[in-house]
């Protein structure tokens, strides 16, 4: 049964391994996945712990529904204190690892300490073993996984590993599984590398009983139909996520030349249809693949068509790679994007952070803030494809002044570079923004400013705000499962009602992350996809836990508050440019220079932005400084944290 999946506490320093059952009261409070991870992190780390020291806890988990008869429960969640931001580190990936972990008997791994020698953890049907990884250390993300299989003599083993970037303590290194599934933000691979841990391998054949199997199977059928009948899912299933990039770029929501423009011109070579053509040419007509149990199959497959790496198999590119290695660096060429995507996947490094930092360096180079001296002679002019790809490798292996500086992340690099470099760094809480430009979309700007893991789109982005939905449709969506009768606006350039949308999405995404389901199976891009009501049913049928949609909402709010508590403990201050809920000045000072008529000339109005943050804090139950009010903590049952229940 899903509910008897355990937590394993693994100390790499001593080799001590403890396993514990998860009490039902803990399940009901935090469900699983990211929510329970947040609880474990808050309880098992101390204030101010060194993110790359043995006291940091690397937590790897599946959701409460992982590997049950629910749709797309593929997600693996990874949490730790972030070496990039010094605050919450949290990243989520698809693939097949978390289900295998669940079949091997575990939902959560809490890994502390530091191994004496390079090691990996092998989990097999309830047993846990720490093994030598001497022969695997240094290998790429995929080579390491195939080597682990070979060593264990089992082709069905699933692993999540760090690549060379994690070993080299690049502060935005990924934990990855499969060819390209990446827990890619906030440097979870760096934490793994800092523990001398190459990865975790799992193999399981333990039964997971389904509480109501007949009904769960039938409900899953209708759940899947609800997802596959949405046009947006069908488009994702044919063009993959690049379609989002294409759509966003068309109206002017894509960062270009770091933050100079909001639209990439001359981008025909990286439009989604072009990328799809290359995938078809190199992999045939059926070139889409999917994660565990998912019928959206949004992941494309391709082989690098030409150049020195021609013929290499890769998956993606996701829309983030189009932004990172196409628009931001002004290199809108398929070969650069496809090669860059492959390199970061092999090195195990966040494509968003990598592309953003390279484009930042390119702007500094244009401004003369850095020169050939800092770049070791590399010409970092806009549009220099070779320089972009060279920088990817320099960062992964910390080569040269700039490669080494950028590998530490934007804020530390800005301190090394000095001058006015920090002003041009588009980040929140020390994490670079993704490739999207939110100057014309206040709701999205509010999202990146207040996201718990630093600038990010997957924590609270009301992406459907861009659809200009009629107010009555918005009301139907955003008044469930808790009532909301405040204002809502169909205009994506408006400020009214957006804080509620951000708050609602924040709870929605936390909910889906606790369950272990992919965000593409909820109201992220598709308006008609399942939310709290459907989750209540799917949770009951698979686990027997009866929770109303409102109760799941409450869990999500509670878990978000735990993440807030963690960030406050580690130094979050509302308006701090390095550790706060604040945007780079360019959002308020530099208007959009390209795009649709209602986008061109727009930027974020700082006064209205501050008011939005106030309003959001109000919905969340925080005071004006962004600190939870005592009554909020009490209503969420968090007044005694850390409470050490598990």
């Amino acid at each position: 049964m899903a509910l008897n999946r355990k937590i394993a506490y693994i100390d790499l320093t001593t080799g001590d391994i403890q396993t514990k059952a998860i009490p039902l009261e803990v399940r009901k409070k935090f469900l699983g996945g990211r929510g329970l991870d947040a609880y474990l992190l808050y309880n098992h780390t101390k204030k101010g712990c060194d993110p790359m020291g043995p006291d940091n806890a690397l937590i790897i988990s599946g959701g409460i529904l992982t590997a049950t008869c629910a749709s797309a429960t593929s997600r693996t969640h990874v949490m730790a204190k972030s070496p990039l931001t010094g605050m919450l580190g949290s990243a989520n990936m698809g693939g097949f690892f978390a289900p295998e972990l669940a079949w091997a008997g575990f939902h959560h791994l809490v890994i502390k300490g530091k191994a004496k020698n390079p090691s990996y953890i092998y989990i097999h049907n309830g047993e846990i073993e720490i093994r030598d990884a001497g022969g695997i250390w240094g290998q790429s993300v995929t080579d390491a996984q195939w080597a682990i299989r070979q060593e264990l003599g089992d082709e069905e083993v699933k692993s999540c590993v760090c690549g060379p970037a994690g070993e080299n303590l690049v502060r935005f290194a990924n934990v990855m599984t499969g060819v390209k599934n990446a827990a890619g933000r906030t440097g979870m691979g760096c934490v793994m590398g800092s523990k001398n841990l190459k990865g975790v391998a799992a193999r399981g054949t333990m039964d997971i009983e389904i509480a109501h199997p007949v009904e769960a199977l039938e409900y899953n059928k209708s759940f899947i139909s609800q997802i596959t009948s949405a046009k947006v899912s069908q488009t994702q299933g044919t063009l993959g996520t690049p379609f989002i990039w294409g759509a966003t770029n068309s109206w002017g929501g894509v960062r270009t030349r770091n933050f100079q423009y909001n639209q990439c011109e001359y981008s025909d070579d990286i439009e989604p249809e072009r990328i799809d053509e290359i995938c078809e040419e190199t992999m045939g007509p059926y070139h889409m693949t999917g994660c565990f149990g998912c019928q959206v199959h949004c992941r494309a497959q391709y082989k690098i068509p030409e150049g020195p790496l021609a013929g290499r198999y890769e998956e993606g590119p996701e829309y983030t790679s189009l932004g990172a290695f196409g628009a931001e660096t002004d290199t809108p060429r398929a070969l650069t994007v496809l090669t860059g995507n492959h390199l970061v996947d092999q090195f195990g490094m966040d494509n968003l952070e990598t592309g953003s930092l390279i484009s930042w360096a390119m702007e500094l180079y244009e401004l003369g803030i850095i020169t050939d001296k800092q770049t070791d002679g590399l010409d970092l002019s806009w549009g220099n494809d070779e320089a972009v790809l060279e920088m990817v490798e320099r960062i992964a292996y910390r080569k040269g002044f700039l490669g080494d500086a950028l590998a530490d992340g934007g804020i530390p690099a800005s301190k090394k570079i000095g001058k006015k470099s920090f002003d041009y760094l588009v980040q929140v809480k020390g994490m670079s923004n993704l490739h999207s430009d939110e100057r014309a979309t206040p709701a999205l700007a509010l999202n990146v400013a207040t996201a718990s893991r630093g600038s990010d789109h997957l924590r609270s982005r009301p992406a459907i705000d861009l659809y200009h939905l009629p107010e009555e449709v918005l009301r139907k969506i955003y008044s469930n499962p808790v009532a909301y009768d405040g204002p809502l606006s169909s205009e994506h350039t408006e400020y009214i009602g957006k804080p509620w949308q951000v708050f609602w999405q924040e709870n929605l995404y936390m909910g889906v992350d606790c369950l272990g389901i992919c965000k593409y199976h909820t109201v992220f891009l598709g308006v008609t996809l399942p939310t709290f009501e459907e989750w209540s049913k799917v949770l009951f049928l698979n686990t027997g836990i009866e929770m109303s949609p409102e109760e799941i909402w409450q869990v999500a709010h509670r878990c978000n508050m735990l993440e807030r508590l963690f960030n406050l403990r580690e130094g979050l201050q509302r308006n701090d440019l390095e550790k706060g809920d604040m945007l780079n000045h360019r959002y308020f000072d530099e208007p959009c220079r390209r795009g649709a008529v209602d986008v061109i000339g727009t930027m974020i109005d700082k006064k209205k932005f501050i008011k939005m943050v106030d309003e959001l804090y109000g919905h969340q139950g925080l005071d004006k400084n962004g600190v939870p009010k005592p009554e909020t903590l009490e209503s969420l049952g968090l007044e005694n944290e850390p409470s050490h229940l598990v």
């Binding site: 079949w103 070139h287 999917g290």
Partner: protein
Amino acid sequence: MAKILYVDHEKCTGCRLCELVCAVSHDGISNPARSRIRVLKWEAEGIYIPMTCQQCQDAPCLNVCPVKAISQDEELGRVSVDYNTCIGCRSCVSVCPFGAMNFNATDRRVLKCDVCDGDPQCVRFCDVKAVEFIEAGEVAIRKSRKAAKRVSDAGRQAADLQAQI
């Protein structure tokens, strides 16, 4: 004529939902080890191939069974195991050339595809139609059409080249 499970592996996205629904519909349990269909993968090349029982006409499992627990079910076009007779010797597991006869260590019994008594759940859930339940004759004509199209396309390309010269 009975239908067969036809696998077009090129269409398979490798999601393994078929394994999940197979195990849940038969045993009420999620566990790929209980699935009668398995997706074999070569992830480094992006190749995924679902494998299941071919319901052979001259079935090695049937032939090898020492207690005649395995029989042909003409109506449903399947090879069936009678668990009342089966002694669990696993000779059938050893002899199956496709690895489609499996053994569940928890229940201590063999398991194989029974085409869900005519409504295979793997087919019902596979949105990309990598697994289909169709007449055996239909498979051949589909493959012929696909091959014929290749010939036809090649002919057209040759004609185009001719025209350019």
